[in-house]
Amino acid sequence: MGKTDKNLKRKVEEASNSKEIEEEKGSDSEEEDFLTTLNGDEDSSDSDREIEDSEDDNNELVEDEGEENNDSISGEDSEASDELEDEEEDESDEEDDSSGGEEEEEPLSEESEEETSEKEDESPKSINKLSESSKLDKNALSRSKTDEYADNDTSDEEDIRNTVGNIPKNWYDDYKHLGYDWDGKRIIKPEQGDQLDAFLKKMEDPDFWRTVKDPQTGQNVVLSDEDIQLIRRIRGQKIPDVNFEEYAPWIEWFTSKVEQMPIRKFPEHKRSFLPSKSEAQKVSKLVHALKMGWIKTREEQAKLRAKKEPQFYMLWQTDDQTEEMRRIHKHISAPKRLLPGHAESYNPPPEYLFDAKELKLWNKLKNAPWKRKLHFIPQKIDSLRKVPAYPRFIKERFLRCLDLYLCPRAIKMKLNIEPESLVPKLPSPRDLQPFPTVMSLEYKGHTDMVRCISTEKTGQYLLSGSDDGTVKIWEVNTARCLKTIKIEGVVRSVEWCPNQALSLVLVASDNDVYLINPHVGDTLISQKTDAVLSEVPKSDHIIPERIRTCVQWLEPTQELYERGVRLHLKHFKEVTQVTWHGKGDYFATVMPDGANRSVLISQVSRRRSQLPFAKAKGLIQCVLFHPTKPCLFVATQRHIRIYDLVKQNLIKKLMTNSKWISTMAIHPLGDNLLVGTYDRKMLWFDLDLSTKPYQTLRLHGTAVRGVAFHKRYPLFASGSDDRSLIISHGMVYNDLLQNPLIVPLKRLQDHDSFNDFGIFGVHFHPLQPWVFTSGADSTIKLYSN
């Protein structure tokens, strides 16, 4: 916007000049005209420029744009100029008072005018130049009067069509152009004549000596006389301004004389010589306040402040002696914070850093921070200087403070034991051999679940009853099926007669109980058995109605007889269990649905049955004869009752504390009873000791379905639905003071599960430390040592 600046300046000059002129009243009209042509009339100046443009086509656009800018800003400019004018007026007034610089001015302006007239003749371009130079003069003039533009504006002396700024010109040495104009177009270097041209010019042009090259535009500029004069004055070390009066008279602005008389005509007031009363009052108040200690001097304040700071002294005279004083009741000191582990290190071992999974889990537990493994995320920082402040530090301290005063405290005894010490010390199973350890034989042949098994007294044959409606007799040593006896219906219970003189087995299926001669082993015995059973004992005993409706002793049909059935008992309800008395003459049958007639004791030799109980005590699960005494164990759903069969009364009621009894077995000595329950427990009752279980064994994971004692060895076994057979050592001592020793020895799991059933029957070999198991997978397995 150099143009606009220029314009503005011009206007100012014009105004000042015109004022001067007005004051002078004798100024040349020519000058006025000139000034108007320069500044006042836009039209005339335009015309001037048009002339210039015609010569210099290159600059046409620039000029036009400049004009536009001029127009647009002129409004503002005029205002600014007005202000400036005012200022100038003021200053000019001052000048008027002091000295008349205008007289010198006049001739100078005339001079310049003369020059302009000369230049006008020469070329229209020089007019422009001249106008500038004349303006320069004006500028100088105005500067002499007012120093207004001295410091901030000198740009109007330069041609600033080139926009590259004040840079070394040699940067453009290699280019065709000198710089860029306001449009961003290149300013092409003017044609440079060679040396010959220069010489010719030197010879021909009279103004050659005053021609200089403008580095901005590359144009030749002819210096005006004023310029030359200016240069000369500078060279001569004179003040460049021609108008400056070096020897002007001194003006004394401020007087140096000392006056004898006062300037004001009234004397000083008395007040000014007397001390102030109010101030004295104030001072006395302050003094009083100081005296009374209401206000403190700074030193006193500092002392007080020091006094307020806590004073420390020897509070404890010794390290460990206490002084008697009232203290907190039963103080519980706060536990110390846990010390940090490796994970908290700024450079932990790499394994402590979270991987993606752990990080995810950590973030997931945002709402349950106490579940987190660590309360912070471990970080590895490779250098100490990069360790940042821990953002939760203040919070953690605060929480600790809260804990200290808000958390209820109590003394807790911490158990410092190994879990192993809670496990009872038991003898090693290796010292308790022999016991079955490996599966040695498998008896295959049944097509459905094998519910019950039993062995002959010598342990040569094995009897099994299955859901497929058959009873099979196996040879133990070879696992060969010797005989299959077909029986309609599910075989629920089988048992070999403990009387060695009889070859007889008891089979319970549906409502029927069969006494079958298996015809294995000694043929003599089996023949004798047949003979014994063939003759029906005669008796005149009248069977009571209650029993008769309950059971009927039948001779087997021909078909059944051929199968081996020697006696057939028809019951009024389904029979779930049959069991022999130790002598082999009596047997008991259980019909759970029979209400008060659920247990039936029958005698083979007399072919008679009796109902021992008149009242139903519950749902009877199973019954058992005592091996030596005339006692009957009856297991209902939750209790076991022991009846004396001779005296016909209740001896004992055992509390099992379980929900549902499944089966039971009695120790051969008859003092200990093992009870299996559907709620996964096995209960060992010491009958001499208590009616409560001596030990509750939770060895199995699911319902226990079969338990058995070994006749000779101190072993017992249990099978359950989790397909496992657990063999345990159950030593009973003759010494009454010594409690039985129970050691689980071995867990064997070979059966497959079928319909969630595992093992049904467990039976020990009568002589060897072997055990048979029958499973839901329709096999029987023999485990031997």
């Binding site: 907190i328 009741h329 914070r337 290190s345 394994e351 530090f393 919070k395 005063y405 496990v423």
Partner: protein, 596 residues
């Protein structure tokens, strides 16, 4: 005559406890005052044995205080001071409301202050009790010493904290009581042993103050704690100084500006001065040496001789630790955090200095030829002296924890540091994961390793060494984890040899399997009473075992990855040239040589 019927809860647990609300009513205090009183007097709620009875049959969970505690508070003279406060607040409020500023000023100038001396004595009957409970006090004071002036934390308080903590550090230096140090991500842990009591405190890292949300942190409560803790710490300091034959309050040489000026200087200068003060010994009242190390007598015959021997060894090591850095001269580079390092070095008898132009208080120049260790925390430096090691600050910490000067080769400038391990791991506890680095330290095979390192250095094969280490570590891990694996391997070896005939071989793991099985059966016989306890204990054990397994696995994976990396690098190196490797080795020599 019929006996009078007893009222419920008039005896026993029901009469022993008091809910907070009842306590407030009894003490006639506001909740705020009560809280303050509780904090200062150290009264805390107690957990009753039977909560329902203690709450007099009320449901829910209440804060229950012991009745005797509340009675104890009832007799506290501070309660009257708290009531004075109430009156004072009313007066001030009124003066402010009627804009009587003169009076307001006067009130504010003589505001009531709590005197807590007797409470310190009451709460800590002996000095040792106070030392025992110093952990929280120190940590909070160190935190507050970094605080700016806040709404509820007056400037005086944090200034007092700064003063007292600095005094405490001086006492620790003089007593040579520091035992363990640890750089955690939370801050620097220091553990000192003063009169047989271990005191652990945390100094937060730089710029620990962050504005906290109001719901998150209540500075008022913390400030109340600090109010008491400063008094406690002051008395502890006084006694410590007295014990160490030092003047209290200490006169620091470098701080010679008066109060007015101190307020003007900015925080950094103030901190710098504090650190500078750490670097100078305090003036003593007498030159008697406080010697409390007594030889362990062999009187206590009840312990086994091995144990006594061990104790003696420990004592010897502790003694060695006290003069760990004696005769060493450290120079701290600009980027190293100075406060903890100066403290540590001075604690163990070393000399330390830093750039004079940056901070006040340096004692010698960087160009001093007698400097043995130059502590740097940047990857490289332009100027090197031959006469000193350029090491990273972690070396100091690890050396202190190891109680001997560790070989510096792993800590050279620009090296990747070995992991920094926590010294606070209880070594007696079983079932905890021990990282291979720590195991290396425990095995005392460190010298062996060190020797090997040196050899390797001589040969100039650094990568190999790392590999070997890894392999070793891996081997150890496997040893511990699965013996069976090794045995399997040995079996494989056997298979290679020719054996005549088929001999029945017992499966090696069969025995252990059997034992496990037996144990599993046996553990079913755990008494009913202990069943749950046993179960939870076993669960805990299993959890810990799983954690250890996880850590081992992660480590193994990491080591494998690293081994692969180094292998890859080696291949590349081999492909390049031999001489390049040699050069590398030369630069990796023990002392970085270059003359300025």
């Amino acid at each position: 005559m019929v006996a009078k019927r007893k009222k419920k809860y008039s005896v026993g647990e029901g009469a022993q406890f008091m809910s907070r609300k009842a306590a407030l009513k009894k003490l006639q205090l506001s909740l705020n005052d009560f809280r303050r009183l509780c904090i200062i007097k150290g009264i805390y709620p107690r957990e009753p044995r039977n909560r329902k009875r203690a709450q007099k049959g009320q449901s829910g969970i209440k804060t229950l205080y012991h009745v005797k505690d509340i009675q104890f508070l009832l007799h506290e003279p501070i309660i009257w001071k708290l009531r004075d406060y109430k009156i004072f607040n009313k007066k001030v409020g009124r003066a402010r409301a009627i804009k009587d500023f003169e009076r307001l000023h006067r009130y504010l100038n003589n505001h009531p202050t709590l005197k807590l001396d007797h409470i310190v004595k009451e709460r800590y009957p002996t000095f040792l009790d106070a030392l025992r409970d110093l952990d929280d006090c120190l940590t909070l004071c160190f935190l507050f010493s970094t605080f700016p002036s806040l709404a509820h934390v007056p400037r005086d308080q944090s200034a007092l904290c700064q003063r007292l903590t600095m005094e405490f550090l001086h006492a620790v230096i003089e007593a040579k009581a520091l035992r363990k140090v640890f750089i955690s991500i939370k801050g620097y842990y220091f553990q000192a042993e003063i009169k047989g009591e271990t005191v652990t405190w945390i100094v937060p890292h730089h710029f620990s103050f962050e504005p906290q949300h109001r719901a998150e942190v209540d500075f008022k409560i913390m400030s109340t704690f600090v109010e008491f803790y400063t008094i406690l710490l002051g008395f502890v300091n006084f006694r410590l100084y007295h014990w160490l034959n030092l003047y209290y309050p200490p006169k620091f040489n470098s701080i010679n500006q008066n109060e007015g000026e101190k307020d003007l200087v900015d925080e950094n200068v103030y901190v710098a001065e504090r650190i500078a003060a750490l670097n100078f010994p305090l003036s003593k009242t007498s030159n008697e040496v406080v010697e409390e190390d007594l030889e362990i007598d062999a009187f206590n015959n009840d312990e086994s001789p091995e144990k006594i021997e061990e104790l003696k060894k420990e004592a010897e090591k502790d003694k060695q630790l006290k003069t760990l850095f004696k005769g060493l001269k450290f120079f701290l580079n600009r980027e190293v955090p100075r406060e903890p390092l100066v403290f540590i070095i001075r604690c163990f008898g070393g000399e330390v200095s830093w750039d004079k132009s940056l901070f006040v208080g340096s004692t010698f120049d960087e160009n001093d030829e007698s400097i043995t260790h130059h502590i740097v925390d940047r990857p490289s430096m332009e100027k090197h002296f031959i006469s000193r090691y350029y090491i990273q600050p972690q070396w100091l910490f690890d050396s202190v924890n190891c109680r001997e000067l560790l070989p510096v080769n792993k800590y050279f400038m620009g090296e990747i540091l070995p992991p920094h391990l926590s010294p606070f791991i209880d070594k007696e506890r079983d079932q905890q994961y021990i990282p291979p680095e720590e195991r290396a330290l425990l095995d005392a095979s460190i010298e062996h390793m060190y020797k090997k390192d040196e050899e390797n250095d001589g040969e100039g094969v650094d990568d190999d060494e790392e590999d070997e280490d890894n392999e070793e570590d891996g081997g150890e891990n496997e040893d511990d984890e699965e013996e069976s694996d090794n045995e399997e391997e040995s079996q494989n070896e056997k298979k290679l040899s020719v054996t005549p005939g088929e001999v029945f071989k017992e499966v090696p793991w069969e025995k252990s399997r059997q034992e496990r099985q037996e144990y599993r059966l046996r553990e079913k016989l755990v008494k009913n009473k202990h069943r749950k306890l046993y179960k939870s204990m076993m669960e805990g054990k299993e959890k810990r075992a799983k954690e250890i397994w996880l850590l081992r696995k992660k480590r193994r994976l990491h080591d494998a990855e690293k081994a692969e990396d180094t292998k890859g690098k080696k291949k590349v190196a081999k492909k390049e040239n031999g001489p390049a490797k040699k050069n590398e080795a030369a630069t990796k020599g023990k002392k970085k040589s270059k003359i300025n």
